[in-house]
Symmetry: C2
DNA sequence: GGCTGATTTGACCTTGAAGTCAAATCATAG
DNA sequence: CTATGATTTGACTTCAAGGTCAAATCAGCC
């Protein structure tokens, strides 16, 4: 139930929360030396004072949770788009792989996937995992459809799904913006590779 | 310079340190609810008192560092074995993939790879990364050799290496001992899949 | 037993980061 | 200008977890 204010309709709380989540993303991408994420860093990055963050999010846990949800929604939207298309399984999978990689590397929320979901409350973790499973099941279904339709060789769709998503989810660990390998190139080559792995 | 005691040659400090690192591994695998790793948990698991851990490791950082090194050494030994063999690139790669997956899932030190290396001191991180790169380069070299010798199709060996190792390193995130998919099955199917991805 | 050095103990110290809150400030309507 | 509610501030509190240490205990040797 979002309260709307006439005087700032285009700078409302939702916008601000999004900005904070994007800030979180940047901080996560940039984190150099220290191990843990600090609310202070997020505040500093945005030119805010730490206490101010707590006006928008009840806790660090909530911030991370909402960022996770934002992130998985991006992937779910890609899944919807792909399902709405008339493409066959191979093309669908390629699109999804590419979009997922771009989301991980250049997306506004992708880096949060590096945060351990164990730190979420049980309720939040369940909600997030449900969304994530929806996406992962979508990928598996595409693989399974490809096998059924003969575009892919017969194999275990679960394993293929785990391998593809694992390889992609690991990318932020080594990807460096501005490095030798651009996100686009990584995305295309990963897609090539996994489609080769599946072809009959 | 390790001081040797006549009266406990087979229960020396090195053994104890190993036991603690194995305990760390178990705790990391089992960690249910909370986000972070606590020295207290490691102590509890081993039936030790927290302070006692600090007799064997100067700090949590050192414990994690040494566990990382242990872990990568296991993989490096597999690499050496493979290099010493007369197998061709495809067979070599399969062996490495299988061994690496078994190390990640059932090995005595594999779970530590889930800990962020950013929390290590710069010096320790450099040392560890050097070892890890040695292993990763080894994998890339095998891929490259396979391409040269025509066992694999022409492609970017770096990308293939990243994809293979990323998919494997992600396994502990979803693998559950005693679950539907045994480590052995996962290892074989992952190997099948990646070899299909590389074949001409 | 008594000595010596290794190991264990648990109470205590310290720190860093999460989170709180009352007061100050700001934006807009009237 | 003033009233009102939204937002911002920064000093403060809390607390968990890492880490310390002097004293107690243990193992083997003489």
């Amino acid at each position: 139930m979002k309260k709307q204010r006439a005087w700032a309709a285009d700078h409302d709380v939702g916008e601000r929360r999004d900005a904070i989540m994007r800030g979180l993303n940047t901080v996560l991408r940039a984190r150099g030396r220290p191990g843990a994420l600090r609310m202070q860093d997020v505040a500093d990055h945005l030119g805010l004072v730490k206490g101010n963050l707590y006006y928008y999010f009840r806790s660090k846990e909530e911030l991370i949770y909402h960022a996770h949800v934002k992130c998985v929604r991006v992937s779910l939207e890609a899944l919807e788009r792909v399902r709405a298309s008339r493409d066959g399984p191979a093309k669908r999978l390629r699109t999804l792989i590419v979009e997922h990689i771009l989301a991980m590397t250049e997306g506004e929320y992708g880096a949060v996937l590096l945060e351990d979901i164990e730190q979420l409350t049980t309720a939040h973790r369940r909600k997030y995992v449900a969304l994530r499973d929806e996406f992962e099941n979508g990928v598996r279904e595409i693989v399974a459809a490809g096998i059924t339709q003969g575009e892919f060789s017969k194999q275990d769709a679960r394993i293929a799904g785990f391998a593809i998503l694992g390889a992609i989810n690991w990318i932020p660990k080594w990807y460096r913006p501005g490095g030798e390998l651009s996100a686009r190139v990584i995305a295309d080559r990963f897609a090539d590779m996994f489609l080769r792995a599946l072809r009959p």
